[in-house]
């Protein structure tokens, strides 16, 4: 019985790690760009790697090094990061509900590894998600982010400039590739994601609201409207079967 449990845990861990391989690649390439940009913003290689290891956050890290290099004060940077990453609070609330962890150490470790992509993979996975699966998923994702920065600061400026530039879009490719399977499932995902994107673009360009705030407002406004608008389950057959199962 005990051996079986341990085997199941190991299998779940491996399954989690395997489903994080695309995240590892996406994080690694983006994080290489972060490492290179962090050096040019005046961070030491140690500081850049420590940043990725302790923060594990994408856009907010890029935003923070921009603010550091432009001489912003600590309060400004911390508040911006807080606002930009308010979504983690909502994602963690959703994940905590789905995972139903009992152990405090599991909670302390797994909550540290909540990111956009980890959240998407875990919350879109059908059925129960075990703590072992989360450990495999998050450790792999974290390793990709940390190793990417390490590679970035090591490589420094050896990469051709145009390839460095091309990599800064890798994060958005990851977001797009995560969204496509949801859109294939039904029209709601398309409606919600396009609405949030359009609203966010308007907030950013027309009202000059900072990137962090506008993402938070767009997410909350569109999700609140969507949850009020779509009262019934999605009518598509595929979705209906999934909900029933």
């Amino acid at each position: 019985m005990k051996t079986e449990d341990r085997e199941n845990s190991l299998n779940d861990f491996i399954a989690g790690a395997r489903s994080a391989i695309p995240i590892f690649i996406g994080y690694f390439t983006t994080s290489v760009a972060f490492g290179i940009l962090a050096l040019s913003s005046g961070l030491t290689p140690f500081e850049a790697v420590l940043f990725s290891m302790t923060n594990l956050t994408g856009a907010a890290q890029f935003m923070a090094i921009n603010l550091i290099s432009s001489g912003a004060v600590i309060g400004e940077i911390v508040v911006s990061v807080f606002l930009m990453n308010l979504r983690y609070f909502i994602m963690s609330a959703s994940l905590a509900r789905k995972l139903g962890l009992k152990n405090n150490i599991d909670k302390a470790v797994i909550s540290f590894g909540v990111t956009d992509e980890v959240f998407s993979v875990a919350s879109l996975k059908s059925g129960a998600v075990s703590d072992s699966f989360m450990y495999g998923l998050q450790l792999t994702a974290w390793a990709g982010w940390a190793a990417g920065t390490l590679a970035g600061v090591t490589m420094g400026s050896f990469l051709p400039r145009t390839l460095q530039d091309a990599m800064s879009g890798a994060l958005f490719a990851l977001f797009a590739a995560l969204l496509v399977p949801e859109i294939k499932k039904g029209y709601r995902a398309l409606f919600l994601s396009v609405s949030a994107g359009v609203l966010n673009t308007m907030l950013y360009y027309m009202w000059h609201i900072s990137a962090g705030w506008s993402i938070v407002i767009s997410m909350l406004a569109v999700t609140a409207a969507g949850a009020a608008l779509f009262r019934n389950e999605e009518s598509s057959v595929e979705q209906g079967v999934e909900e029933a199962g």
């Binding site: 420590l50 909550s111 797009a176 779509f230």
Partner: protein, 103 residues
């Protein structure tokens, strides 16, 4: 401690705070249907807001690179599925646009 180090650790504390609080004070099981839908729709809305206008602002000098890269990723994901191929397709496409097309 350098000021950069203080900023990094303060940001780390903020990020951990946002992530751990909902795990400690769990929302409970019998949440209203509206809130459940709200949490269910969040990832999709988040992805939309993270993509737009991020793909445009990520390449300030040549926004077409970001748009072409994301389009290549979406198309590859639609046809082939997965995440690895779309990411490489996007980097390749963005690189080609940056290399050969300027506006």
């Amino acid at each position: 401690m350098s000021s950069a180090l203080v900023i990094i650790l303060a940001c780390g504390a903020v990020n951990y705070f946002l992530r751990i609080v909902p795990f400690i004070f769990s929302v409970g099981d019998n949440i209203p249907a509206y809130l459940k839908r709200f949490l269910d729709y969040m990832p999709v809305a988040a992805l939309g807001a993270l993509i737009l206008p991020g793909i445009i602002t990520s390449f300030p000098a040549n926004p077409a690179a970001g748009i072409a890269g994301a389009a290549a990723a979406a198309l590859t994901a639609w046809i082939a599925g997965g995440l690895i191929l779309p990411v490489f397709a996007s980097i390749g496409t963005a690189w080609i646009v940056l290399q050969y097309l300027s506006f």
